[in-house]
Symmetry: C2
């Protein structure tokens, strides 16, 4: 298939598009394309997920049940499979797989690699391939391209086209969804750029074309590095402010009145989620190749790494004021999701604090209306406690780790013996002396 | 004078107000108050400046000649003096003196201290005192108050009132001036807060009252620390990008399309001016008192400290491509102000690079339409070269260190042999291979 053929298929919306990975990035993207009349075949190794999609059972907060039902059951534009040989049916394939860090903060490229091999072994000539997973700059050109060429025997720019277009999913954001968030697109060569612009243009309102994949790769890292650095900065300033008897939350509200040149970030128990704690370290990884030390990322990472320990100390100091030790105390965590009003505890700082306190002999409970149960990295299973007056009054300490908007903060404080507030949850509540400790 | 007396004077605009220090903060503030009908007596140790004000000779870019002439010559609401005993005439005094760092990055509190002594020795009881100079949190309560009480024998909160209200002057900003930039006000006690709000309310459109001076002090530091950290971050990413053949400027433009959670900062030869390179180190100073290491500020400062050296290297590498050494080469710097379209070279990174190249034997010239001449910290005097075709073509290298909007970049590049662009000045110009090197 030549580039004019795929462009024609795009223009008459007969371009069959594969989406590899149906998680928090892939499923919203697949549904958005399908909503816009593009036939989507979702590839998902987890057969339960593929089955759920085919039964229109929604498991992603940013996808509406109505949209999923519509594209699966009514228009039938979306179906899912665990059979990756069906990549041969696709004219275009978009990769939305995870890129975690391993335990030594080294990028785990295995998901991208296996996607590339699956594509290379099954695609027909003339396929357009786009990667959306966050990764280090040069991945598309220097990592993906050689794998696909070697495994397929085909030639990039002639037999297939490559592109990098970073996902910008912000779980729980009600204003910006997949279709109306401007999308960065960096393709390899002008033909690939033309195809990429046409294809993404079917589903996404605003595209921002850049001159190469590596520009697009670096853009995504810059966005999330900016957040890591600024959250780490405000966390460090919050810790100092605590020592200086300065309410950092009042300081931030004041600084926000500056009408230019300032953007507010808020302190918390640490940085969670699947992007901000991870993405900057992709860049740190590739920088080593260039004998370059990224001192800002390194310092920001070190602050974040220490936050759970410092938060454990804060809880310990609060208990100490009530003449209690960590060991033997019952500590109730309010909210374990990594941000408010979502059901995702990945990389959540709450889990780290809970683990540290558990090791010190504390009895750990949690309440999170979004997360009924979970098992931590050490295999410890936790089950959400029902929020009762007795639960609150029996706990030696109640810790706010996530500020879910459904929490009735005033009532919780009234019933609790001792509160440690790591999220400024109690801002509108009068604080009884010695009962509430804030970050 | 009781607080009701001064409040009455404020409400009928008979509150005579002293402004100590008629520099880039004090003069605009004095003119803004005078414009709003408040009688202002400016105190300035530099007799030439006091004389200039009394003759309505303007020396500050953010003050208009018309405004100054109006308040000095027409309404006669503003006059200046070098006689600090006249503080006794004032009902309120606002301190706008510099707070530099010494050579060892320790805060130089001598200007604030001497202002406090001048006030204490001369004020009448019932005077309201406000500090606008950027300084470390706790200054108003723990540094100013004891000095004023000791030197005057008067009691804070009874005989005089104290307040901290940080200046937010952004030289050259055409949208936000003294009167329409929201102002943070943190007073000591409720009486002082009431007076502060009434007094500043006469001249400033939006006040944001905070609960204490230390909150206001920390707010200012947070605002400028945010800028230092983010500029240092983007400078570090720019240096890595250079090694990875990534145009950081294109990356920033792309990241800016993210409609939430991102604010763009731009790389450059280093951080200049009288605020951002200095203010965060006030906090570092006081943090030592609390055995607290501010690692983000420290790292950001270290990056900034190395920038001039790295920029010298960049110029050296560019010369090397033309088979030239630094020693013996003529290097023309375009722009030495610390930011575009202003006449201020204080803490300008250009000066550091010029000095380093001079030490390596280069012949240094500069052109800056805003700065006809200057003498650096080592006593070397420089005079602005007239910008001619011959000047440009004779130079071995032309370096853009400030992107003044009046620079005709295309013509400059055409005439130059070699250009090192540290400000993305050439963005809209086609680059001839091997002639222009960008940061």
């Amino acid at each position: 298939m030549s580039n004019t053929e795929i462009l024609k298929k795009i223009s008459n919306k007969t371009v069959k598009t594969g989406v590899i990975g149906l998680g928090y990035v892939g499923l919203p993207l697949a549904v958005t394309f399908a909503n816009n009349g593009v036939e989507i075949l979702g590839f998902e190794k987890n057969k339960d997920k593929a089955k759920a999609v085919n039964e229109a059972q929604n498991y992603i907060g940013d996808v509406t049940d109505a949209d999923l039902t519509n594209v699966v059951k009514e228009t039938k534009k979306l179906s899912a499979t665990a059979d990756f040989t069906r990549i041969k049916e696709c004219d275009a394939v978009i990769i939305c797989v995870p890129t975690p860090l391993d335990k030594f903060k080294k990028p785990d490229m295995s998901y991208i690699e296996s996607s590339c091999i699956d594509i290379a072994k099954n695609m027909k000539p003339g396929t357009f391939i786009s990667l959306e997973s966050t990764t280090y700059p040069t991945t598309t050109e220097d990592f993906m391209k050689p794998i696909i060429e070697k495994e397929s025997g085909l030639k990039e720019g002639k037999d297939f086209w490559l592109c990098f277009s970073p996902e910008r999913v912000d779980p729980g954001n009600i204003n910006y969804k997949t279709d109306n968030t401007p999308k960065i697109v960096g393709a390899l060569g002008t033909e690939a750029a033309e195809i990429a612009e046409a294809l993404y243009g079917l589903a996404i309102k605003h595209l921002h074309m850049v001159s190469s994949p590596r520009i697009a790769e670096m853009t995504k890292i810059l966005e999330n590095t900016y957040r890591l650095v600024n959250i780490s900065l405000i966390n460090e300033l919050a810790l100092l402010s605590g020592k200086m008897n300065i309410d950092i939350w009042e300081v931030i509200e004041a600084a926000k009145t500056k009408p230019y040149g300032f953007q507010a970030f808020y302190p918390g128990p640490g940085i969670g989620g699947h992007c901000i704690p991870l993405d900057p370290f992709y860049l740190e990884h590739i920088a080593k190749n260039f004998n370059f030390e990224l001192s800002m990322i390194h310092t920001a990472g070190a602050i974040n790494d220490r936050m759970s320990h410092r938060m454990m100390n804060k809880i310990s100091f609060a208990l100490n004021r009530h003449k209690k030790s960590m060991g033997g105390s019952t500590i109730l965590f309010m909210g374990i999701a990594y941000k408010p009003d979502i059901a995702d505890a990945r990389e959540s700082p709450a889990l780290l604090i809970m683990d540290q306190l558990k090791k010190k002999g504390a009895n750990i409970l949690y309440h999170d209306p979004y997360i009924p149960e979970f098992t931590d990295d050490h295999g410890n299973k936790y089950i959400c406690s029902e929020l009762t007056d007795k639960l609150l009054s029996d706990a030696d300490c109640v810790v706010f780790t996530t500020n879910h908007s459904c929490f009735k903060v005033e009532q919780i404080i009234e019933k609790a013996k001792l509160v440690v507030d790591l999220r400024n949850a109690v801002k509108s509540v009068k604080i009884e002396d010695g009962k509430v400790f804030k970050l």
